[in-house]
Amino acid sequence: MIQFEQVSKTYRGGHQALQKISFEIKAGEMAFLTGHSGAGKSTLLKLISIMERPSTGKVLINGHDLSQINRRQIPYVRRDIGMIFQNHHLLKEQTVFDNVALPLIIEGYSLKETKKRVHAALDKVGLLDKQRYYPVMLSGGEQQRVGIARAVVNTPPILLADEPTGNLDPKLSLDIMRIFEEFNRVGTSVFIATHDLGLIARMKYRTLTLKQGRMLTSNLADDEGEV
């Protein structure tokens, strides 16, 4: 589903963020990406969502080489990738409902279909009763769940999350992870970047570890001790 082939990324100014990264995440797989801050996690996610382009090597999604995607096509690629961010990236001036409906409005769904889908997504994250609230009226965990609802509302085949539990306590973090697991169970590929090793250890999924731009391991979490 997501495939990296010998991908390197050097930023302007010579900072080498990623060096010869190769890995693959299969369709329907759930995996973690971990490493210290500055290890290249964000760069790796940016390459998938085409916020950055690799310096060398290839990134493929569903067999399509992303280097073939031109600037005008990027929005259509992003519609197939639900993205979740540490600081939520919600629109402050719009209600929870409008925030979650955003991807559907962009794609031109009818009002009826939009309502149906937004309700379903909010229901999944347990916030159906707060759809008229504004983001500032919600707690950090709730805002994160709104972000998740927005990411899944158009049922994308891929979910990317960048430090989704960054500001949350362990209990809330686990709740969020359970929600990701649910989506994974219905066939969505989920790829989560986090430095919360304790959380990863509690869940038995493959973990990719980055250190100074290189991929250390690509093992299942069962093989303890390497992280």
């Binding site: 259509y76 001036e93 409005i105």
Partner: protein, 330 residues
């Protein structure tokens, strides 16, 4: 539309991602309508910067529109003067009555002439006596020094400055005419003045239109900068640039609309102020001139132009600015 997952639309059974052609057209219009209204809504929610911008635009538009009204009225006044052009032919002294009436017939038959009026030398003397107050002094003269004068009014289509001049030369060729006089110098000067004002006006209009475009452009640029975060989010969830641009283009259109309305109101109020003083003036001149404002058609043209300018100002900045904003993680 899915680029990377061609079969996704069909495979995800209940999802019905693919929209039919009619649905697409409908959602296109609904989406435009939504953004059109939401751009109005965002002006409403944060009215201060918009009001200031609209006020500046309104003033910028009022100026050329007012000048246009002034020129329009001046031209209508000038037209009245144009038709007042008359040629005075001073006739040779030694013509007898017979020759005189033949000559008058002859001039009357000229296809460029509307009507003629003879001021005989005796009438002229009588009038001069009365008006000048030299009555007694004139009695001392042994003969009437005044010539017969034939006042010729050309047909309207020959009463413009140059055509009347041609007619004058033509009539002057006639044997019976001593010399002719057409007081058109002032008319020509007025014509030249008006055409100069017209030229100055057009360059002024162009300058002010450019300033409207620039003002709108700058305001939109600021509002894009203010909404950078929102634009980043929109880009992250897959909005195309044209989707993001649309509300800003509509905002420009709204600015133009409100500025045009403001300019129109200002002109109407200005005319209201002027109307009474002009009425007094025209009464003094025994003229039936009445001040003309903008007609309905001209008002719509004004609105159309201002909306076009607003849109243009927005269009110039929006593409570049939105292209520059790229989302950041974290």
């Amino acid at each position: 539309m899915s680029l990377l997952f061609k079969n996704r639309e069909r495979s995800s059974g209940a999802n019905q991602r693919k929209l039919s052609f009619i649905q697409k057209i409908r959602s296109f219009f609904i989406s435009h309508l939504r953004q059109w209204l939401s751009s109005l809504g965002s002006i409403w929610r944060d009215p201060m910067p918009s009001i200031l911008t609209i006020a500046v635009l309104g003033v910028s538009l009022t100026l050329p529109a007012t000048l246009y009204v002034v020129v329009k009225n001046a031209e209508s006044v000038e037209q009245n003067w144009q038709s007042a052009a008359e040629i005075s032919l001073f006739l040779q002294d030694e013509l007898n009555q017979q020759q005189l009436s033949t000559f008058i017939k002859q001039v009357e038959l000229n296809h460029k002439v509307d009507k003629v009026r003879l001021i005989s030398k005796d009438d002229a003397l009588a009038e001069f006596e009365q008006e000048s107050g030299f009555g007694d002094a004139l009695n001392l003269l042994d003969s009437n020094p005044l010539p017969n004068v034939l006042v010729v009014a050309p047909l309207p289509e020959f009463s413009s400055a140059s055509a009347a001049k041609d007619l004058l030369t033509e009539l002057e060729q006639m044997r019976e005419v001593d010399f002719g006089k057409l007081d058109i110098e002032w008319l020509r000067r007025l014509n030249a003045l008006l055409s100069m004002v017209n030229t100055a006006l057009s360059s002024l209009v162009i300058l002010l239109c450019i300033s409207v475009v620039l003002i709108v452009g700058n305001t939109i640029r600021l509002s894009i900068a203010n909404r950078k975060e929102e634009i980043e989010v929109l880009k992250l969830v897959g909005a195309t640039d044209s989707f993001i641009q649309r509300p800003f283009l509509y905002t420009g259109l709204w600015y133009g609309f409100f500025a045009g309305m403001l300019a129109w109101f200002s002109i109407e109020i200005l005319l209201l102020f002027l109307a009474s003083s002009i009425e007094k003036l025209t009464e003094l001149y025994h003229s039936n001139f009445s001040l003309a404002g903008l007609s309905i058609g001209e008002m719509f043209i004004l609105l159309g132009i201002s909306m076009l300018l607003g849109w243009l100002g927005s269009f110039i900045v929006v593409r570049q600015q939105i292209k520059q904003i790229e989302p950041e993680l974290g």
